[in-house]
Amino acid sequence: MTKAAELAKMGEVLTNGQIGGRRNIVINGAMQVAQRGTSFDYVTTDAYSLDRFNIDVTGGDNSAGRLTASQAAITDLPGFANALKFDCTTADTSIAAGEALILSQRFEGQDVQQLKKGTSSAEKFTVSFYVKGTAKTYALEVLDIDTTNNRSIAQTFGVTTSWNRVVLTFDGDTTGVLDDDANRSLDLNFFLHAGATYTGGTLDTAWGAMTNANRAVGIGSFYSSTDNEFFITGLQMEVGSQATPFEHRSFGEELQLCRRYLQYFDAHSNYDRFAIGTATTTDDCNFLFKFNPYMRDVPTLVHGTLSEIVVLDNDNSAEAIGSLSIDTNTDGPQGCNVEASDITSDVMTAGDATQMSAANTANAFISFDSEL
């Protein structure tokens, strides 16, 4: 084989994505993992939806616009079975200055060191994704959280009613080293709606100190009509100036990556057990949850309706719980002691083995959130 033929072959292999694994810095880019559920309504707060994807509707002024975000099964984009779908349920055509609707994925500093940000050899990087929906222009911002007053760069992109792969390449930033730690350092922010606070200037198409007015210039509004929809999947961020084919990972692998940020124990049937514990008094129990994998940091405990969670005492009766809490003094990224207090058992004594369980419902859940 000639040298030219060898090079051509190598180029073909690279183009096909046959070598060079672990290119995608984004987690759950194919929108497969949905531990919290598959449909979410957003009103006035920011919250996570599909794993690793935050939706922030709080720009400073709350919009009257409302949306439902969901994991949508798709059949019209070969290679992808799921997308994150936004559906506008209440329109807002009177946009106050501080309004914003931002879809984000946030990265730990230790996971983006390969960008070499803040050094003379800072790398270009490329963000690619598939979108379709109501025809609009939106913006993608890359935001450095670590540098004082933040640094940002942005580009706009178009959405049409057919699936289209958007490829946006960004210059490396020679200013602002990202911390090599487990804290939030870099955000990918999709601006889908914004008021003059974010649109009043000139879009920051080169890295610079973040100026709010330059973050989302030129975008349309997702909230302009209840007819509006937005679908996104196949999100990839990789070092280099070329977009390579989307790096598909197995569901199990993607789930394990997501569990660093969220571990969700939901009942699969009535009286499904969550954990084994010990009574510490006649009214209180401790339940140990060990995390696999270790979480990013000590997590927040989030649970469903408390009346749907019970303690099974030593006569196997389902006893109501007064409150659940965690304890920073004993908890860590490797596990948490959940304290169940004010339990209404008649027979429980200190030292008894107990179980935490769903009540007579499969709606119960207990989760640990260490998102960024």
Binding site: V43, T44, T45, D46, T58, A182, N183, R184, T280, T281, D284, N286, R296, D297, V298, P299, T300, L301, V302, H303, S323, L324, S325, I326, D327, T328, N329, T330, D331, N337, E339, S341, D369, S370, E371, L372
Partner: protein, 59 residues
């Protein structure tokens, strides 16, 4: 983050403040560790800097 209130909870193991019960604007709650790397704890500290907001003492 739409925070309505925040209140310390005492650990029954150590008898010290062990977490904060955070109540959101829609009245849902979560239990937040006193850990600077936790986003809910960071949001509570920012919220508490605003005049009129304070983390309530534990019962």
């Amino acid at each position: 983050m739409d925070i309505k209130s925040a209140k310390y909870k005492t650990s029954k193991i150590t008898n010290e403040n062990g977490s904060i019960e955070l109540t959101f604007g829609d009245d849902t709650t979560c239990q937040v560790p006193l850990t600077v790397g936790n986003r809910h704890y960071q949001a509570i500290l920012e919220w508490a800097k605003i005049d009129g907001n304070a983390i309530e003492a534990a019962d």
